[in-house]
């Protein structure tokens, strides 16, 4: 079984401070981490490696410093790591990112591609599903539990706000994982040494992909940012219990009137 885990290196937002005057993020000196959802995706892959001897490759697109995230993945137990880095890839939105990743992945062998649900610096949750569409393979998002089926399929628990779906999907496929699904393992000391002293990170650049420069990077990104602003604080909602249908309907109407919505 061959698994490819797509990860993203992101600023550790728990360590990000706001500039009180401008209201913008201070990114300097903020440590970079593996995006939490992606790290849980990697853990899920490593569990499959432990159980079924799967081969795990981690893939990331980013600046050369992103090799630190790949080394961490190797030190957790991934077998191989690939860094896609090129000036031509820079400034990509989710569409251009997923297309670039897809161009690399279409040349690789895989049974399963795992991506984290969303990155904590962008929160779009788009790259995983888009990637599956580019590759024309089925995908299941918001996976919170995973087991291998009897044939070449996976049994997945897909989270919804008020429950979950149990889905059987045939491989090759792509899933996006939630950080609730597991607690990622620590790196192992010996694997940290191996990641630096024995293993090599494979690099892929623009020249390795069959694609035009216009389709990727900033040029290939249809997303245009109109305006950025700080989200206003929202107060916590209120839960009303033990009301019958009539009382509940009456209460909702009252509240909507109170807020001048109706």
């Amino acid at each position: 079984m061959k698994i490819i885990v797509c990860i993203k290196q992101v600023p550790d937002t728990t360590e990000v401070r706001l500039n009180p005057e401008t209201g913008t993020l201070i990114r300097e000196g903020v440590p970079s981490i593996i995006n939490p959802d992606d790290k849980c995706g990697l853990e899920a892959a490593l569990v499959l490696k432990d159980k079924y001897d799967a081969h795990v490759t981690v893939l990331t697109m980013g600046p050369t410093q992103a090799d630190f995230a790949l080394k961490e993945a190797l030190a957790m137990g991934a077998d191989e790591a690939i860094l896609m880095t090129d000036r031509a890839f820079a400034g990509a939105d989710t569409w251009a990112t997923s297309l670039t990743l897809a161009k690399a992945l279409e040349k690789m062998e895989y049974d399963l591609i795992i991506a984290g649900r969303q990155a904590i610096d962008g929160d779009t949750a788009q790259v995983g599903p888009e990637l599956a569409e580019h590759l024309k393979i089925p995908h299941v998002s918001y996976v919170e539990a995973l087991e291998k089926g009897d044939d070449s399929s996976l049994i997945l628990k897909r989270k919804f706000e008020d429950g979950y779906h149990k889905v059987k999907v045939k491989m090759p496929c792509l899933i996006t994982t939630l950080s609730e699904m597991n607690k990622p393992r620590y790196m192992k000391v010996g694997l940290v040494f191996d990641a630096h002293r024995e293993k090599e990170i494979k690099k892929l650049t623009f020249d390795d992909l069959d694609i035009n420069k216009e389709e990727i990077g900033l040029k290939g990104s249809p997303t245009k940012v109109k305006k950025s602003f700080t989200k206003g604080a929202k107060t916590a909602g209120k839960v009303y219990k033990d009301l019958d249908e009539k009382e509940a309907a009456k209460l909702i109407v009252e509240k909507l009137k109170e807020k001048f919505i109706i």
Partner: protein, 378 residues
């Protein structure tokens, strides 16, 4: 010369920090309070390859170096001095002498399970009447056919109650003084070998410090470490390495106390503002951190020398002398900056101050370190 961490060291630091914050720090107060050896932490450290860092993979180690090892002891000790010394005594005092002085058979039989963390190690030199004066050993080893027969006792042995393998010094020829001391590898299950009284200590209270008792213990001849009469030299060289570990422990405790204090002084308000705003607080903290950074450079230099096959006896003594005294000073100041709260068990600095004290005493007192350093000068 370069004072920056390599990428490999940065990643190790990340691992050590995550491990310490999640697995060590949450129980540090509890194991001190209950005087409980943290078996669960030792098991987790085994699983993450933390009990044999500087030894080659062919001997069960992680194929790393002493720098990587002391960084672990430092990080663990920031939260828990007990956990730091468990790793230090196991690695420096038991694994290291077998690696450096053992035969290939001894390495395969003992170092492999020790470095993998399947077995825990300890070291026995100190006796009731042989502390700094290590030559005053009373424990005897007499060769009888294929075995040495050991009789006597050792005190203050770190890890004793939980260790499987012990390096034990004993007199094989009293008439030769220090040249009559030999080193042995002793297994916990050998008949006649028992663990005696557990010490009730001021600090590092989770560490199981006990007496070792030998009553006609038959130790196979092949468990002699190095040659007969070389025990004292082995012990001294082992302690040279051990001191780097203890210096790292002292360093970690001191940094941990500073980190706690920085958090506290920002929160604590007196006279209408946080006490961090007072210049006394600022100057105290500046002095504390400067000294701890200086200690860190000494500790890393000693580890660097050991890794690069340079002499390190003097450097290890300086590192241990300075780091341990800085640790005591800094933890005392940390308690002072916490005021009355610092004296209570509600805040970890009182434990850190108690833990720091032992670093000035074990594996050679500060006075012994001064003897070593001055001997290199005169």
């Amino acid at each position: 010369m370069n004072f920056n961490f390599t990428d490999e060291q940065k990643l190790l630091k990340k691992l050590y920090k995550e491990f310490t914050e999640n697995e060590v720090e949450p129980i540090a107060g509890e194991i001190d309070e209950e005087e409980r050896f943290p078996v669960e932490t030792v098991e987790k450290m085994k699983n993450n390859g933390m009990l044999g860092i500087p030894f080659p993979k062919k001997y069960g180690g992680q194929g790393g170096d002493n720098q990587a090892y002391v960084m672990l002891v430092e990080e663990l000790s920031k939260a828990c001095g007990t956990t730091g010394v468990i790793v230090s005594a196991h690695t420096s005092l038991c694994c290291a002498p077998i690696y450096e002085f053992g035969t290939e058979e001894q390495k395969q039989k003992y170092l492999v399970p020790l470095a993998k963390g399947e077995k825990l190690g300890a070291f026995g030199l100190t006796e009731a009447n042989a502390g700094t004066d290590a030559a005053g050993q009373q424990t005897k080893a007499v060769l009888d056919g294929d075995h040495y027969i050991l009789n006597g006792s050792k005190i203050f042995i770190t890890n004793a109650a939980n260790a499987d393998i012990f390096i034990v010094m004993a007199m094989t020829d009293k008439s030769k003084g220090t040249r009559g001391i030999s080193a042995f590898i002793v297994e916990k299950d050998y008949e006649g070998f028992s663990i005696g009284k557990k010490e009730l200590k001021m600090g590092i209270r989770g560490s199981a410090t006990c007496e070792l008792i030998f009553e006609d213990v038959k130790v196979p001849k092949e468990n002699l470490l190095g040659r007969e009469g070389k025990g004292f030299s082995i012990a001294m060289k082992t302690l040279d390495g051990g001191r780097i570990g203890i210096a790292a422990q002292a360093l970690g405790i001191a940094q941990g106390a500073i980190d706690e204090t920085v958090k506290y002084v920002k929160e604590r308000k007196q006279f209408g503002r946080s006490i961090a705003k007072f210049q006394n607080t600022q100057f105290q903290l500046a002095d504390m951190q400067t000294k701890v950074d200086a200690a860190r450079l000494l500790v890393y230099r000693a580890a660097f020398n050991k890794d690069n096959k340079l002499s390190y006896s003097n450097e290890a003594a300086m590192a241990k002398l300075f780091a341990s005294e800085v640790s005591m000073e800094v933890t005392t100041k940390a308690v002072q900056l916490h005021g009355g709260y610092g004296y209570t068990r509600e805040y970890p600095v009182e434990r850190m101050m108690r833990d720091a004290k032992i670093t000035e005493i074990y594996e050679g007192t500060s006075e012994v370190q001064k003897m070593v350093v001055s001997a290199h000068m005169l």
